[in-house]
């Protein structure tokens, strides 16, 4: 089964359960935290997912290392390489 179909199946199941839960609560005038949680479940799920993805992105950027000295090291290495190539008649770029 394709990944998108699996995800769609899972979402449909979640939606069906949620609608069932909401319909069950329709009759009662009970406004307990439990009924509120059921009513707001999709919104809470989306919010939680958003927070998780954002936290993962921030962690990913924080651990995405920078190596500024590598630029300098590479420039030096290339300068040396260019000199050696020129000495041996291998520099054709100029």
């Amino acid at each position: 089964m394709r990944r998108v179909h699996r995800l769609a199946s899972f979402l449909s199941l979640f939606l069906a359960v949620w609608i069932g839960g909401v319909l069950q609560l329709q009759g009662s005038a009970n406004r307990s935290w439990c009924s509120l949680a059921v009513l707001w479940a999709p919104a809470l799920a989306i919010l939680s997912l958003g927070c998780y993805l954002l936290a993962r992105l921030m962690y990913g950027v924080m651990t995405f290392s920078s190596y500024p000295r590598e630029t300098v090291a590479l420039q030096q290495e290339l300068q040396l390489a260019k000199e050696k190539m020129s000495e041996q008649g291998l520099w054709f770029a100029d």
Binding site: R2, G60, F64, T71, L74, K82, L90, A93
Partner: protein, 267 residues
């Protein structure tokens, strides 16, 4: 124990480098490849107990470079031909394919593969953002794990970038995380282009890819995973000397998102 690199006359590794306007860089890339690969293959031959300098077994004959130039107006092809025709060892293992114009990365790799003799293929860029010193590390990882694909990654410990600001890092990391979440990918660096492949697996992947631009690299990595290939990652430091924050424009980013959506709906 590391396997010997190759039979005496067999090319073990082909490095395919697509080029467009890399006149200044291509000679330096070839020089650095010699500096880093020849000692590696010499060492392998020493470990395998073979004599060092018996002709035709110079270390540079275990690997070759195929340059695919898309009609560079700056004379990149002339620089390559100059090196090919020199008497220096550097020209001994270079092949040049000249195409009339930019025809896409996928077809460039396929054209390179047609001329490649190596059992193993490295794909890399010509602008020196990919340093040849990592290629022996790719080969070592492959020899130790028996995998068929090694991806250079900027995001694992030991990897990273030089020359990028916060916004560029955010876009890069964000795009990769979005892609890996949507596609269920375990490879950390989906848009990286510095990779080692076993030849037959690369051919299978290239035959199946349809995306262009950044999405192309992502598609290759994801298809490798979905095909059940054993993929390993090696940290690399990507040095962006020339473009900094400016290479990724809105059209490239939109193209990436289009490719990602298409892959999400079809894979």
């Amino acid at each position: 124990m590391m396997q010997p690199a190759a039979q005496d006359h067999q090319v073990h590794l082909t490095i395919i480098i697509p080029t467009y306007n890399e006149r200044e860089n291509i000679g330096l890339v070839l020089w650095l490849l010699h500096e880093h690969l020849n000692p590696y293959y010499s060492e392998l031959r020493r470990e395998a107990g073979k004599p060092q300098h018996s002709a035709p077994c110079q270390p540079s004959l275990f690997w070759e470079v195929v340059i695919v130039d898309d009609g560079s107006p700056d004379g990149t092809a002339e620089v390559v031909r100059g090196l090919q025709q020199s008497k220096h060892e550097i020209g001994r293992n270079i092949k040049l394919i000249q195409r009339p114009t930019k025809l896409g990365l996928g077809t460039a790799y396929l054209a390179g593969l047609e001329q490649a003799n190596g059992q193993w293929i490295v794909l890399m860029d010509a602008d020196l953002s990919h340093h040849p010193r990592y290629i022996p590390k790719f080969l070592q990882r492959q020899a130790v794990t028996g995998c068929t694909v090694v991806c250079g990654t900027r995001y694992r410990k030991g990897g990273g970038v030089a020359g990028w600001g916060f916004s560029r890092k955010l876009t890069s990391r964000g795009a990769n995380q979005l892609a890996s979440t949507l596609l269920g990918a375990s490879i950390s660096d989906l848009t990286g282009a510095f990779r080692l492949f076993r030849r037959d697996h690369l051919l299978q992947l290239l035959d199946r890819t349809t995306c262009k631009g950044y999405a192309f690299q992502m598609e290759v990595a994801v298809r490798a995973q979905y095909a059940g290939f054993h993929v390993e990652e090696v940290p690399i430091i990507f040095v962006d000397r020339l473009y900094g924050d400016s290479k990724l424009g809105p059209s490239e980013f939109l193209g990436f998102l289009r490719g990602l959506l298409r892959l999400f709906l079809t894979l």
